[in-house]
């Protein structure tokens, strides 16, 4: 795995693949050397975070925690900060944002089919869900056997913000970071404008979704000078049965999808991770998503 850079009209583009997503940096510069060093920095940071926090690996702290069988695990400072963050998000969302809810995937496979699980199957998993059941006393973490944590819900956004911090320490030039649709712009460009971001309006007819690349079209353009943008959505991840569309946003209290959630929410915030959490919380608010987001006094789009 590696990265590459290429010059475009007025900026350099650095590209690589990480966290199962296409990642890119747009760097306002004429210098290839700056583009190269920033992209290298970004690639290494994204890879580091993926290696350290991906739940698909067997050599990291998440694996160690998830296979701890109820034993106490001592975690490093960065993991501790992320667990603190998960703890605070859990409490401020009244338990709706829960990094232990990943085990519900054993029942739910959101593959656009009609494969809705039975009530008992979901019910059987629920005892293994709930952040309130873990014991987190920095630096020691433990949780009952069978529970798992998954920081995937904030990992990509966290990587964007971390990359932004490293980038800022490295250059005063404007840089746009885009990791699979989660974005951050470090500052306005030299002409005072922001980076032009297209906010997609998904086309939701199922037969067209299959041809999704063709159907994607930007309906809103937004100038991002400084800050983060993230999207939470279920456009390509849902179940459809008996005319009911099941969103992939699950309520950790019931183990069932949130009713009447929008298809996607895009939020602009001071950091990418805040944008991501607010978008997710918007989804978790179901049909009151709009009211919730309005109360936050932020820029957002609901589809």
């Amino acid at each position: 795995m590696s990265f590459n850079v290429k010059q475009e009209d007025g900026f350099w583009r650095g590209e690589f693949q990480s966290m199962a997503s296409p990642c890119e940096l747009l760097i306002e510069t004429d210098e290839e050397s700056l583009a190269y060093s920033l992209t290298k920095l970004a690639f290494e940071e994204a890879s580091r975070i993926e290696q350290k926090f991906s739940r698909y690996r067997q050599d990291n702290i998440i694996y160690k925690i998830n296979t701890s069988h109820g034993k106490k695990i001592s975690v490093d400072e960065e993991t501790a900060l992320l667990l603190d963050y998960a703890d605070q998000c859990f409490h401020m969302s009244d338990g709706f944002f829960d990094v232990t809810s990943g085990v519900l995937r054993e029942a739910w496979k959101f593959d656009c089919s009609d494969n809705v699980p039975g009530r008992n199957k979901v019910k059987a998993i629920l005892p293994r869900v709930g952040w309130q059941k873990v014991s987190w006393n920095k630096p020691n973490f433990s949780m009952p056997e069978g529970m798992e944590i998954d920081l995937g819900g904030i990992g990509k956004e966290y990587a964007v913000d971390r990359t932004a911090m490293l980038t800022r320490a490295h250059t005063d030039n404007s840089v746009l970071i885009n990791y699979g649709g989660d974005l951050y712009a470090t500052k306005a460009k030299n002409d005072g404008n922001g980076w032009l971001i297209g906010i997609e309006k998904p086309n939701l007819k199922s037969n067209q979704v299959k041809n999704k690349n063709k159907q994607r079209k930007s309906v809103k353009e937004f100038q991002l000078k400084q800050g983060g943008i993230a999207t939470s959505g279920d456009v390509y991840r849902y179940l459809l049965k008996d005319g009911i569309r099941y969103s992939h946003i699950l309520d950790p209290h019931t183990g069932w999808p949130i009713k009447d959630a929008p298809h996607s929410i895009t939020v602009v915030a001071e950091s990418c991770i805040e944008a991501g959490i607010l978008a997710t919380l918007g989804m978790l608010n179901g049909k009151s998503a709009k009211r919730f987001l309005k109360a936050q006094d932020i820029k957002f789009w609901i589809n």
């Binding site: 963050y85 998000c89 401020m92 630096p139 913000d161 805040e274």
Partner: protein, 406 residues
């Protein structure tokens, strides 16, 4: 989902995100592995024009003992030399005073503020603290301290508790401390308001006092760049609080009559302290105000402002200004008058109507990821703010500070 606190989520999230991102940046930069020692050391040189000079080295050590337990140790050595105002007023003729031991005398020229030149002392102080979590959101700090100078000893213990809530945006603090001090002045403890002489009247060889303090405070994260703190301190002192070396001039009777000062044996103190720290990109503003009052009728206001300018990644410059204004104690007298000697009296200018202005600059530099060097240079002026015509005290100080992890 109906978020109960839907309105405040964004604010709480902003604060949480700041600690997440800055915390990571911090640990990535400092590279400090667990269980390191942190050392903070400084040397202060403080010099009053024609009066006291203080050299004070301080070493603070902090050791992470794991599981959020910390051991804090602090060593202070104070070395004091020079002359200190003895309390008598300057007069048109030369004045002769007996030293506290009664073995010798010193003379002050006409029109000079009488200073006791025998003033010198060395103080050693050690403070130890044990910091431990009680549970996820509360922590306790237990401390003990001892200090010793040739005529003074102090022993103390303290306990402080803090409780984080409101997603750790609010911290409540409560603490108590008690100190038992004893003094054994050179030549014994003079009987208050009796004449200064080689064969002075004493109440004994030593005396003692007890100092008790209670503190409650709240610290609130206002937003991602602002933090506010409010503390209330209630103190009670009882015992011997007189300065056994200070005297007052008595006018209107026999010439050159001096009486040893005498202060009440109890004092009830209160102080209200407010502080705000605000971040502006790389810069930091520190503003504080303190109001103090006690039943000696001393009251004071202290206003302090510091602004830390970041000069690139590794340097900073911090101008500091402090203004202090005080209303005198009800037993403060510039001098006494024969035939009207009160029960309590002191001519210690530190109990007078006074104001103090301090200006300082601090320059700091990160030497490498684990150490920082700073130098602080300042000037202080203390002046009468009332009728008492005592002389200004001007002082210059230089402080060198070195911080490292090892």
């Amino acid at each position: 989902m109906q978020l109960k606190k839907s309105k405040s989520v964004r604010k709480m999230l902003a604060v949480a995100t700041t600690s997440l991102l800055t915390g990571v940046a911090h640990s990535a930069n400092s590279g400090a592995a667990d269980n390191d020692w942190e050392m903070d050391s400084s040397v202060l040189y403080y010099s009053e024009a024609d009066r006291v000079t203080v050299i004070e080295p301080v070493v603070s050590l902090r050791k992470d003992m794991g599981d959020e337990h910390f051991l804090n140790l602090r060593f202070v050595l104070d070395s004091l030399t020079g002359a200190s105002a003895n309390g008598a007023i300057k007069t048109g003729s030369a004045q002769t005073f007996t030293t506290p031991s009664g073995n010798s005398t010193y003379t002050t020229a006409a029109n000079q503020t009488p200073l006791d030149p025998t003033f010198h002392d060395t103080r050693v102080a050690i403070n130890a603290e044990w910091e431990m979590p009680l549970n996820k959101t509360t922590k306790a700090i237990f401390g003990a301290n001892i200090s010793k100078e040739f005529d003074y000893q102090s022993l103390g213990v303290s306990a402080n508790f803090s409780w984080d809530f409101n997603n750790r945006n609010t911290t409540l603090t409560a603490g108590a401390a008690i100190n038992a001090d004893s003094i054994n002045p050179v030549g014994g403890v003079p009987t208050g308001l009796t004449p200064m002489s080689a064969s002075k009247a004493t109440t004994g060889a030593d005396d003692s006092k007890t100092v008790t303090d209670l503190l409650i405070g709240v610290t609130q994260v206002i937003n991602r760049t602002t933090l506010m703190q409010l503390n209330l301190n209630i103190g009670s002192d009882s015992g011997y609080m007189t300065d056994p070396y200070k005297i007052l001039t008595v006018l209107g009777g026999a010439p050159d009559t001096y009486l040893y000062e005498n202060r009440p044996d109890s004092r009830a103190r209160q102080a209200l302290y407010w502080k705000t720290v605000m971040g502006f990109d790389e810069d930091v503003l520190n503003l504080s105000y303190r109001y103090y009052w006690d039943d000696w009728d001393v009251s004071s206001h202290t206003i302090e402002a510091k602004y830390r300018f970041s000069l690139g990644e590794k340097h900073y410059l911090q101008p500091e200004v402090r203004y202090y204004v005080q209303d005198k104690a009800n037993f403060y007298h510039y001098n006494l008058v024969d035939g009207a000697i009160p029960t309590y009296a002191s001519a210690d200018y530190r109990l007078a109507d006074l104001k103090t202005t301090t200006l300082a600059f601090k320059y700091g530099i990160d030497l490498d990821k684990d150490s920082e060097l700073a130098v602080r240079i300042g000037q202080m002026n203390q002046t009468s703010n009332g009728d008492a015509p005592f002389e200004d005290v001007d002082a210059t100080f230089v402080q060198l500070n070195y911080r490292m992890t090892f």
